[in-house]
């Protein structure tokens, strides 16, 4: 039951939101988000205290029934999804014009529910269905803006993601046709066995292609900076913070079984290197805040792929830590971008400035998140990067480590560009200074506090991740 509730609550709220409006709508949505946070915490405690949980629908035995499976990794993932969604709901309560509010909230809850279901799903077809639901929710959120930019972004996002999901569907069909199972644990057994394991390698490669497209890896990332920025800033925190990271999470789950071949690890590693560098160079080139942050998503995802490519328990621990850190920091940075827009009147760095004297608290929060993204000790980003790079050096992949360090330096460059242009130099025109609701500051402070804690006390989280049963470089 504790596995099902974190999924049922947002989906029920989503359906309910369609019929509500005004204060009741925001009230119920905020209440539901905080209740979700409590449920996620409860699940995390249960998993930590009594080990992984499993739920078989309709009591069908293991490889045949549809299974939800929650271990430490998915429990923390759900915890972070509900934290980010609660923060974004608080922001949205004061943000969007009233007309479409119920649609916004309904789609946001739907997105949260499907993201949670993806973290819990334990078979490939279930995974595909929740991925589709996520796609539908994001498309809905994009077109609600109704402008030229929004519809165009939605069309591009749709076309590319659709190709990805179709490849995924075909791969899943082939895997089922070849081995007769879709359940993760059954696939793990088959991959380990000699006679039918090799079937999985080819179809697994197809699945990898689909996931890389959704993750935004090197040649397939152009859709990301072309579509994300059409969303309003708080939603960008939800979508940009979560979507690509969830695909990485899925890759971590399956990489141990379906993709456990040296060739794939090498390929993912080199793709990761190019993804990191091209993402951060794109960020260095652009001036629009949202575009800079979107390109940073690409570069950070490259870093995560590097961790996946290492395919050892140590590498996976580092990847998971970096994944959790990244979801929080990225969401916080997008929220800050929203507040910068409200204060300075524009997203273009050339047209804004003077934020430091006007909003000292916002500046401090930005500085913390930016330094964390760069990976300056003792922030949370530092530990994630340290764990991954140390493992890279252990495996003697010196070129990969060098690329990771260069990426860190370039990240520092583009973050200091935001700092110098947005916060330090005087505003070229004049500040707009729309009133910022106090609740927005409060939730952002809470997020920053969590990021700070992750940086100052990484021990408990790393311990928890090391206890995770990483099988041959993957979860499960």
């Amino acid at each position: 039951m504790s596995l099902l509730m974190p999924f049922l609550l947002p989906i029920a709220t989503s359906l309910l939101s369609v019929f509500l409006k005004g204060r009741l709508l925001t009230g119920i949505n905020l209440f539901s988000s905080f209740a979700l946070l409590v449920l996620a915490m409860q699940l995390l405690f249960e998993v930590v205290l009594s080990g992984p949980q499993s739920l078989m629908f309709g009591d069908w035995p293991a490889p045949y029934g549809i299974e939800f499976y929650g271990d430490g990794l998915s429990a923390i993932m759900i915890m972070l999804i509900s934290l980010v969604s609660a923060v974004v709901m608080v922001f949205m309560a004061h943000w969007q014009r009233t007309a479409d509010k119920s649609a916004y909230f309904a789609l946001m809850q739907c997105l949260v529910a499907s993201a949670i279901a993806v973290s819990l799903a334990a078979d490939l077809f279930n995974l595909y269905v929740w991925f589709e639901l996520m796609l539908i929710a994001v498309l809905g959120l994009m077109v609600l803006g109704k402008g030229h930019q929004q519809t165009e972004a939605a069309l591009k996002y749709f076309a590319v993601s659709m190709v990805g999901t179709l490849i995924m569907l075909a791969a899943i069909g082939m895997i089922h046709g070849a081995v007769g199972h879709l359940n993760f644990s059954a696939l793990a057994e088959i991959a380990a066995s000699e006679e039918s394991g090799h079937h999985l390698s080819l179809y697994g490669g197809m699945l990898l292609l689909a996931l890389l497209l959704k993750i935004g890896a090197f040649p397939l990332f152009a859709w990301l900076p072309a579509s994300y920025h059409a969303l309003p800033a708080p939603l960008l925190a939800l979508v940009g913070g979560l979507l690509t990271k969830i695909s990485v999470y899925v890759l971590m789950r399956i990489s141990g079984q379906v993709l456990d071949y040296q060739l794939y690890h090498e390929a993912i590693g080199w793709l990761a290197v190019i993804t990191m560098l091209s993402g951060v160079l794109g960020a260095a080139y652009h001036w629009d805040l949202r575009r800079i942050l979107s390109f940073h998503i690409v570069s950070q995802v490259g870093f995560l792929l590097l961790g996946v490519a290492l395919a050892t328990p140590a590498g996976m621990t580092g990847t998971a830590f970096f994944l959790f850190h990244n979801i929080l920091v990225k969401a916080n940075l997008f929220l800050i971008a929203g507040l910068i827009w409200m204060t300075a009147g524009h997203y273009d760095l050339r047209k804004i400035g003077g934020l430091y004297p006007a909003r000292p608290l916002l500046s401090v929060i930005f500085l913390l998140s930016a330094l964390s993204l760069v990976g300056v000790p003792p922030t949370s980003g530092f530990w994630g990067k340290l764990l991954i790079i140390m493992e890279t050096l252990t495996q003697e992949k010196y070129l990969w480590a060098a690329a990771a360090l260069i990426t860190g330096m370039l990240t520092l460059y583009s973050m200091s560009k935001i700092w110098l242009e947005g916060f330090w130099k005087p505003h070229p025109d004049q500040l707009v200074s729309l009133a910022i609701p106090k609740s927005s500051y409060l939730v952002m402070l809470i997020m920053s506090l969590v990021i700070l804690m992750m940086g100052l006390m990484p021990g408990p989280l790393i311990d928890l991740l090391q206890q995770q049963q990483w099988q041959a470089g993957g979860a499960l």
């Binding site: 030229h148 939605a154 179709l166 569907l169 080139y285 827009w341």
Partner: protein
């Protein structure tokens, strides 16, 4: 049976990709629809269509016989068809809206979201964000 399906799937994939690469937005979406059909057929083929051995697990045995027809892919395909159909309808309406707004059905002309970095921003106020006072 499988041979016919394989031929049909390869025709679907090749024509789907051809349509997908078109610059005309509706053709592109039709390409996605045809590719979707191909993906569905791939899943369907996994159920050993044409087999006359019934999908019954004999007493004492744990798995289906190796050449028996499997009904599960048909259930999977049904789900995939429903999702694909909904998405196709949405995509057609979306494409119509884009063509209306941009006065062009050439996807290469949709450049608003990917301007060069040095280009000036078109409007001073982004459109989406009207804040409640």
């Amino acid at each position: 049976m499988s041979l016919i399906l394989i031929v049909v799937i390869s025709i679907c994939v090749s024509s789907g990709i051809l349509l997908l690469l078109s610059r005309e937005v509706f053709r592109m979406i039709m390409g996605l629809a045809v590719l979707g059909t191909a993906a569905n057929l791939v899943v369907f083929t996994g159920g050993r269509p044409g087999s006359l051995v019934p999908a019954v697990i004999e007493q004492g045995s744990q798995a289906l016989m190796t050449d028996a027809a499997s009904p599960l892919p048909q259930a999977l395909v049904l789900t995939a068809i429903v999702i694909g159909f909904a998405l196709l309808c949405f995509a057609l309406i979306l494409a119509a809206a884009v063509v209306n707004q941009q006065d062009s059905s050439d996807v290469a002309s949709y450049r608003e979201n990917e301007p060069s970095a040095s280009a000036k921003a078109q409007s001073d106020k982004p459109m989406v964000m009207e804040i409640e006072s």
